[in-house]
Amino acid sequence: MNATAPVAVDPITVEVIGSSFASITEEMGEALVKASYSTNIKERRDCSTALFDVEGQTLCQAEHIPMHLGSFIGIIPHILKRHSIEAMKPGDVFIGNDAYEGGGTHLPDIVLAEPVFHDGTMVAWAVNTAHHSDFADRGHAHIYQEGLRIPPIRLYDGGVLMKDVQELILLNCQVPRERLSDLRAQMAANRLGVERVKALCDKYGQATVLAAGRALQDYAERKMRAGIASIPDGTYRFSDSFDNPEIDAPLTFSVEITVAGEEMKLAFDSPAQMRTGFNMVYTALLSTVYYAVKTVADPTIPPNAGLARPLTVEAKEGTVLNCVHPAAVNGRIASCQRVVDLIHGALAQAVPERVIAACSGAVASATFAGTQPGTGELWVYLETIGGGSGARANKDGLDGVHVHMTNTSNLPVEALELEYPLTLLRYELVDGSGGEGRQRGGMGLRRVYRAEAPCRLNIDNSRLQSRPWGIAGGGEGQGGSFVFSEGVEPFIKGDGSLEPGQIVEIITPGAGGYGPVAERTAEARARDSAEKRF
């Protein structure tokens, strides 16, 4: 079959096949969550699913975690660099996670990719990534400290498990039982994707499905072009401050966005890459830009590769925002969040009503690791904690939600305490944390843990020194912070230990307000005061 053979597909068939792609990726995601064992997947849903065309261009990504697009756009090109398509066969499954050789953005996001064959021809890829909460209690001076690097290699060869490969991977994990079961759930998800795409080809014909896939990418491109065209031409610049528990002095990130007709160029500037975990590889930068521009240009653009075509993204190699080997990358999402703030801050000058004030600017997280009292097994528990979402031109910001590059769920208290030797003492909105304004910024969260057994803990947060900014005279949101109970040894670069009975309180940033507070309505003020939000 010649993949480029022209097949005319009418816009209605394209829409119908597009709906099918969306249902397939959704179904893959549900199977992944429901069959998995680790709290990070089964309750927090830190995973994503997608379909790709043979060349590695996204056909459809399910609406899970925007950050994961970075791992997706990298994986297929890296597979193709190492393996010839001719040697691939049904039942091959590739596994990879490396940021430099595996197309990943950090090591815990393990990608499984399976080619879809129909009538002997490779027609697509079923791909998913799951954040395996493992590789905990590590250093972040360079990537060799961060966990096992997996280039794209076969985990299954023609349907046969490569046991040696699996054993090598599992021996390098702290909680191998969870890793194994999550990998099985990832397999189940891809298997569904493969079956569904084959059925789609049976039904509409391979050529039609492939042509519809290309048409959907063209469609996303047209929508992105239409969205960019609606932004006034010009050059918009913005700088922001980045801070993190790993560094003492804040860094400056900046962007210059040039809008010219239907195209947009984004050029980023940041300090040289550092011996810290918050460096970003280029694919992480790309997925961040695609997310941020889509929210402003047109949130309804289908999440496929076509939307990237009108965008040019530049950043100097070897900098924090475009790092090279061997920079550590585990905490890259913190920097990604600030990149979204940069883009929204710059575009606020062009289309202020379509952007929102700065959100929490963080993915505040707590990674606990220890030994289960009783069984002696290692345990790792990752929680990421939402914060304030920025005020909108005509509406208050959302309180206590995940913003921008992530959207994971919290772990219910009743699930958390059953699995780990921890007690959750409080989980609540932080009074007064949203920025003042005509529209109020969203409120941050406070989550308070008490250790019931000795454990190691890594904590991440941002806006510890700077504050989420407001728009058009709106006030700043409150920053993030940590409070430890008496006797806790000081944490170094976010790392430390807790003894039984010791308490850590994680406070996430609020968000900026929109418009002068003097314009806030009397009704809204009365509500703020009755509900003690300030």
Binding site: R184, A226, E428
Partner: protein
């Protein structure tokens, strides 16, 4: 004379279905709804409906009612001012939820507002641990102060929900007693009574929804009961729940959260009965109305049910039929988006102005306009001639879209149908392929005003070979009310590995649930011979957090029960996820008992076979657009009311009746079966 009456109260019409036990006669009646107080239309419908068949309300032996009062109060945020008493430190949980934002990319999207505002949520010192031990005893003074503050604030309902209330309910029980003492007139409910299950947010949210709706439902039920009494109704009235069964008015008033999907669930029950009549047990129901379509799956005659769902943005843990709703109906609007693709819905023309062809000023074409242009719908009038329409307006509106798409008028009209069909097919995939069922093994049951019009295309899209169109597709839900049983669900969560050691604990758990069920049977006056119990257990691999419900075989619990559960789980896991984790521990999570009180149901009677000839039912012909036949085809029009059992029709054909139009595509055949349901088949 012994009449059974089913009344479905919808947004526009209140449908009445009457059945005479003696003669087998079925009569239907519609009256306009009275949304400000639906009990008025119900009383009127009861009165007019019974008068029309020459009966009186006192001759009614059964009264079943489906309502949207709960759903509407939830959608329109017209519940009562409610308060929440919860564990100190967690009062914002109701608002934080699972901390996800409502839309990944749309920065303007909002979360559903919390049903209890922050100033009315009180944290009280207390703490139970996951093993049921008490770390901090309940601060009873704190509860008292909260109750007084809520009383002063003028709330009408209070939800009480503490962490681990499902493991150890006594803190909630003590708090409830204190609230009842301080504030006797308030509606109060606890999380362990409403949804005694794991995951605190979802459980407390369910209690909050219940409190929010409680007084609304109580008031409604009281008014309705009074009106029915005034009419002279002697039968005990029943109300449907989201699980497809009915309960008495008292329980409905205590647990209104169990009625939020009351309306669509009875449609599923009707489909189930029609399946039993026709001998077709694997069904997918398709109820298409003006703004949305509801779909559900029945396997072996049983509807799939779910133990939780997110309803209008609020998580609810309550037994409900697994009904999926999609914003695709006859009024769904067609438009071209900025990327040049044709989109249909979820925006809808609504009842006013309605589709363009109504001539009430609408300019954006709806699905109905496409049908008018294609002439699958009568191009001059609808509703059996009662409503004139203007096809020229539909043609102009769709012509404008056609120009933008670069397609011709007819291809665009057909395209609107294809896109809306794809949207509905996607909804059916959610309840079938996503749950491991192949729609090709199922028959489609089409009802609602627009269901029979679109069923043939939808079935073709999903490669389903058979469609059932009930005798009265427009009143499916009211009919279902005559066919449903009393139904209540009881559950308890007790985590334990599935092994033979579990036999005593399982025996005890089911015995306790069965005792509750028996108590309920007594309360509903169900005769012992009419009592049925169904036991299921929710299982998962230890480590997973989503369970699969597996049937527990009848009879005493023993080692064989454990084996059967293990095998049932492995089979279900393989079907859904494609693998079995050999050697891993299977964990039992929740025991469930469904109590069913059998109600004597309407017994429909088969009609004698009148032979295949159907010419007597022909009322004319018109040109109808069938792309598979190359364009307009002169198509015979049949009157559904004149069709007799055994009659056969070859497609293409159109079959009209007062409240619905059935499209038969070229190559399909339709047969009238003995109960006058139409069976459409693709050879």
């Amino acid at each position: 004379m012994a009449w059974r009456i089913g009344i479905d109260s919808g947004g526009t019409f209140t449908d009445v279905c009457l059945f005479d036990d003696a003669s087998g006669e079925v009569a239907v009646w519609k009256v306009p709804s009275t949304p400000d107080d639906p009990s008025r239309a119900i009383a009127r419908g009861t009165q007019e409906g019974t008068e029309r068949v020459g009966a009186s309300a006192s001759e009614v032996t059964y009264f079943g009612h489906g309502t949207t009062v709960g759903t509407n109060a939830l959608i329109q945020h017209r519940g009562v001012k409610a308060g929440l008493i919860t564990t100190d430190g967690f009062r914002d949980l109701l608002e934080i939820g699972r901390q996800k934002r409502p839309d990944l990319y749309d920065l303007q999207a909002d979360k559903a507002p919390p049903l209890v505002t922050r100033d009315l949520r009180f944290g009280v010192k207390e703490r139970v641990r996951h093993d049921g031990s008490v770390e901090i005893p309940l601060d009873e003074d704190g509860v008292r102060e909260a109750a007084r503050a809520l009383k002063a604030a003028g709330v009408k309902a209070i939800a009480i929900g503490f962490l681990y209330g499902f493991v150890r309910p006594d803190h909630e029980q003590i708090a409830k007693r204190i609230v009842e003492k301080e504030f006797p007139e308030v509606f109060v409910c606890c999380s362990h009574e409403v949804a005694p299950e794991f995951r605190e947010y979802e459980r407390i949210s369910t209690a909050a929804v219940n409190a929010y709706l409680g007084p609304v439902m109580q008031g409604y039920i009281r008014r309705l009961a009074e009106r029915l009494k005034e009419l002279g109704l002697k039968a005990t009235p029943h109300l449907t729940q989201s699980n497809g069964g009915v309960i008495g008015f008292d329980m409905a008033a205590r647990l209104p959260v169990r009625t939020v999907l009351s309306g669509p669930s009875t449609g599923v029950v009707a489909a189930q009965a029609i399946g039993a009549m026709t001998g077709i047990e694997n069904l997918i129901t398709f109820d298409m109305g003006g703004t949305s379509s509801d779909v559900a799956l029945l396997r072996g005659g049983e509807a799939k049910s779910a133990s939780d769902a997110i309803v209008h943005g609020y998580p609810i843990k309550a037994p409900m039929l697994d009904i999926h709703t999609v914003g695709a109906g006859g009024g769904s609007l067609a438009a071209i988006d900025s990327g040049g693709l044709l989109k249909v819905g979820p925006r809808s023309a609504g009842a006013d102005p309605g589709p363009v062809c109504y001539g009430r000023g609408a300019t954006e074409p709806a699905v109905t306009d496409a049908n008018v242009v294609l002439q699958t719908l009568n191009p001059t009038h609808l509703l059996g001639g009662r409503m004139p329409i203007d096809q020229a307006l539909s043609r102009q509106a769709i012509g404008r879209l056609a120009d933008q798409l670069g397609l011709d008028l007819m291809a665009t009209a057909q395209g609107i149908i294809s896109v809306v069909t794809a949207n509905m097919a996607k909804a059916i995939r959610v309840i079938s392929v996503q749950r491991g069922h192949d729609p090709r093994d199922y028959a489609l049951v089409a009802f609602g005003g627009a269901g029979p019009l679109h069923a043939a295309r939808l079935a073709r899209e999903l490669e389903m070979k058979r469609i059932i169109v009930p005798r009265n597709p427009g009143i499916g839900c009211a009919l279902g009310l005559l066919l449903t049983d009393l139904r209540a669900n009881f559950a308890t969560t007790r985590l334990a590995p599935l092994s033979e050691d579990l036999v005593p604990a399982m025996t005890e758990a089911f015995a306790a649930l069965e005792e509750k069920a028996e108590h309920w049977f007594a309360e509903e006056s169900v005769a012992p011979a009419d009592r049925r119990l169904r036991r299921t257990a929710d299982l998962r691999y230890q480590g997973q957090n989503y369970e699969l419900a597996i049937d527990v075989p009848d009879g005493p619990i023993g080692p064989a029960t454990i084996t059967a559960l293990g095998e049932g789980f492995a089979e279900a896991h393989q079907r859904l996820y494609g693998f079995v984790a050999e050697g891993e521990t299977v964990q039992l999570v929740t025991y469930r008992v469904e109590a069913i009180g059998l109600v004597p149901k309407a017994q429909f009677r088969p009609q004698p076979d009148a032979g295949p000839a159907s010419e007597h039912a022909i009322i004319g012909s018109r040109e109808v657009w069938f792309p598979e036949a190359g364009g307009f085809v002169d198509c015979t029009i049949y009157d559904r009311d004149k069709l007799k059992a055994g009659n056969r029709i070859a497609g293409p054909a159109i079959i009209e009746q007062m409240d619905s139009t059935t499209v038969l595509l070229p190559g399909m055949t339709a047969t009238v079966e003995p109960y006058l349901n139409l069976i459409l088949e693709t050879p």
